[in-house]
């Protein structure tokens, strides 16, 4: 039996965390617009833009400076979230996650500056894209942890399957994160498309597998089934969007400028990738909250027996 912790669901804090997550999704899309419009170096200086906080917002400057403005807003939101958690959140590990998220967004800002000042070195651009997604995953997690569902009493369920759903959910999460990195590597001309296509196949297979496992093992657990359905739907949509984005890239490669179809499809593909990561985070966290693998139970039982025998 796990000891009860006396915390009260704080609706305002939870809503603020959700707002931060939504703003982060907008920021990811803003960043994607920069890359798709080849505007990463439209503003050669950093942290100011043309020596100002408000340069003329024309052409590529609109995307690059716009991205910086949204990033600043998300940074402020994250500071607020970390401070609010520090003041009002009784769980120390949640408070620490809040500060970690703040550290990540500060690191993101620095990485962004490095990309500008050093003319977009591919490794830094990929790191910037990857950390963005990981930061998003952390604020999504905070939204879950501050939510009513997580803080309510939940029935613990034994997972008799192998591999356990806990393991599967973490595999899905890792696969999606790896897929995001491969996508960033393709976008920044470090790798070809093949790795990203293989990664897509792995993600689809894992998403189908985990959805089926949840349906078979816990057909009555709505929280798990809903999360798995959302994940599966997003993965399916992402495959379609990915195909569309790739078609648009190749169809317009000889165009004199980034064409609207290519821009919109690649940005949508990236944003939906972030949402897919968020869905995988939710599945993993819910599995963590609800399930206890039987092997762990059995080991705990053996330990208790041996302790009793020793007395």
């Amino acid at each position: 039996m796990r000891p009860r912790m006396n915390t009260v669901h704080q609706r305002a804090l939870h809503r603020y965390a959700v707002l931060t997550a939504c703003a982060t999704l907008v920021l990811l899309a803003a960043g994607a617009l920069v890359t798709s419009n080849d505007a990463g170096l439209a503003v050669p200086d950093w942290p100011l833009s043309y020596g100002s906080l408000w340069p003329p917002l024309v052409g590529g400057i609109l995307y690059e400076h716009g991205h910086r403005l949204v990033a600043g807003f998300v940074g402020l939101l994250t500071i607020g979230l970390a401070v609010w958690l520090q003041l009002r959140e009784p769980r120390a590990w949640v408070r620490r996650l809040g500060w970690a998220a703040l550290g990540a967004v500060v690191a993101q800002g620095l990485l962004g500056g490095i990309t500008v000042l050093f003319y977009l070195p591919p490794a830094v651009s990929i790191a910037h894209a990857t950390l963005a997604q990981m930061f998003f995953a952390s604020v999504v997690s905070l939204s879950v942890f501050t939510g009513r569902w997580w803080q309510a009493e939940q029935q613990q369920l034994a997972d008799h399957g192998s591999p356990s759903l806990l393991t599967l959910s973490r595999l899905v999460l890792a696969a999606i994160l790896a897929q995001l990195v491969l996508g960033a590597a393709y976008r920044h001309n470090v790798l070809g498309i093949v790795g990203h296509l293989v990664g897509a196949g792995v993600v689809v297979a894992l998403a189908v597998y985990i959805a089926r496992a949840i349906r078979n093992r816990f057909p009555q657990v709505a929280a798990l089934r809903r999360a798995a359905r959302v994940l599966l739907a997003l993965v399916g949509l992402q495959v379609l969007l990915g195909g569309g984005a790739y078609w648009a890239i190749w169809g317009t490669q000889s165009a004199p400028q980034p064409m609207p179809a290519m821009v919109y499809l690649t940005v949508a593909h990236l944003a939906l990738g972030a949402l897919t990561l968020a869905a995988a985070v939710v599945v993993a966290l819910r599995a963590q909250r609800l399930l206890r693998p039987v092997a762990a139970e059995q080991l705990a039982g053996v330990a208790r027996f041996e302790q009793g025998a020793a007395r």
Binding site: L41, G59, G60, P121, A127, T130, A137, A255
Partner: protein
């Protein structure tokens, strides 16, 4: 066996996710530093024997010729300048991309013709003339230029809007500078031979230019008549290369005697 559970305890709450996040953030930051550093100007050139020969004008010859396009030129694509009203205002009618500029007789413009090999051992003084690249009507003019290593390049902005000049070389030093409307000229040069360096404006993504950097003075960018002339070449066996930004390259061997004039033609095929 089912159990009632409430919140995680302090210990259980040290979720693996938090530890994993710490580790991954550190990993990403460490990984990113491996990519830092401005793009350096490539590997140092292999040791070359000292260039001591100079061209004797008494025996120098000429290679002249033309570059033509055969086939159907690609359909011009319209450029949208809506992203900057100042650019859109500069054009009364539609503007089209000019990657493949073919005159009615098939003459191909914007081809860099230069001596690719055959001049080993010769030294050439750095030219004193400057080569000018202008930004006019939110387009680079000329689209393709060529200059010698170390020769001065001047970049002008004749428009009423800010431009951002960003050459993307492979082996030369990369730079990225903004230029205010009708602002002060930018003066630069390139140290290494590179045919050719793409130049872009990250504010106006349709703006493209190419700079061919050659280590000797025997180069020419064809105009609308598609012709070129390389004067003052010493006798020798040469490989001539014709470079086009989208049509690729074509090479020819030429043997030039003393005071000889040879004619060479290049043909690029279309679709």
């Amino acid at each position: 066996m089912d159990q009632r559970s409430s919140f995680y305890t302090e210990e259980e709450g040290k979720s693996m996710k938090v530890r994993t996040l710490y580790v991954l953030v550190l990993f990403v930051l460490a990984f990113s530093t491996t990519g830092c550093g401005k793009k350096e100007a490539g590997q140092p050139a292999a040791e070359q024997p000292a260039a001591t020969k100079t061209v004797d004008p008494a025996t120098a010859g000429t290679v002249a010729g033309s570059v033509k396009f055969e086939g159907t030129p690609p359909k011009p694509v319209r450029i949208r300048m809506d992203a900057d009203a100042a650019c859109a205002r500069l054009h009364k009618g539609p503007v089209f991309a000019d990657e493949v500029a073919v005159s009615p007789g098939g003459a191909l413009a914007n081809v860099v013709v230069y001596v690719k090999s055959g001049l080993d051992g010769y030294s050439f003084p750095k030219p004193t003339e400057t080569v000018v690249l202008d930004q006019k009507g939110c387009m680079y003019r000329p689209r393709v230029i060529a200059l010698q290593t170390g020769q001065t390049l001047e970049v002008l902005n004749s428009d009423d809007t800010t431009h951002n000049i960003h050459p993307v070389p492979n082996i030369n030093r990369e730079w990225n500078r903004s230029q205010p409307p009708r602002g002060e000229k930018i003066v630069e040069s390139f140290a290494r031979e590179e045919v050719a360096i793409a130049v872009k404006c990250n504010i106006h993504p349709w703006m493209k230019s190419y700079i061919a950097v050659v280590k000797h003075p025997y180069f020419k960018v064809t105009g609308s008549d598609g012709t070129f002339e390389l004067k003052g070449l010493p006798p020798g066996v040469y490989t001539l290369e014709a470079w086009h930004e989208t049509l690729g390259i074509s090479t020819q061997q030429v043997t030039l005697g003393a005071n000889e004039t040879k004619s060479v033609s290049f043909v690029f095929q279309g679709g």
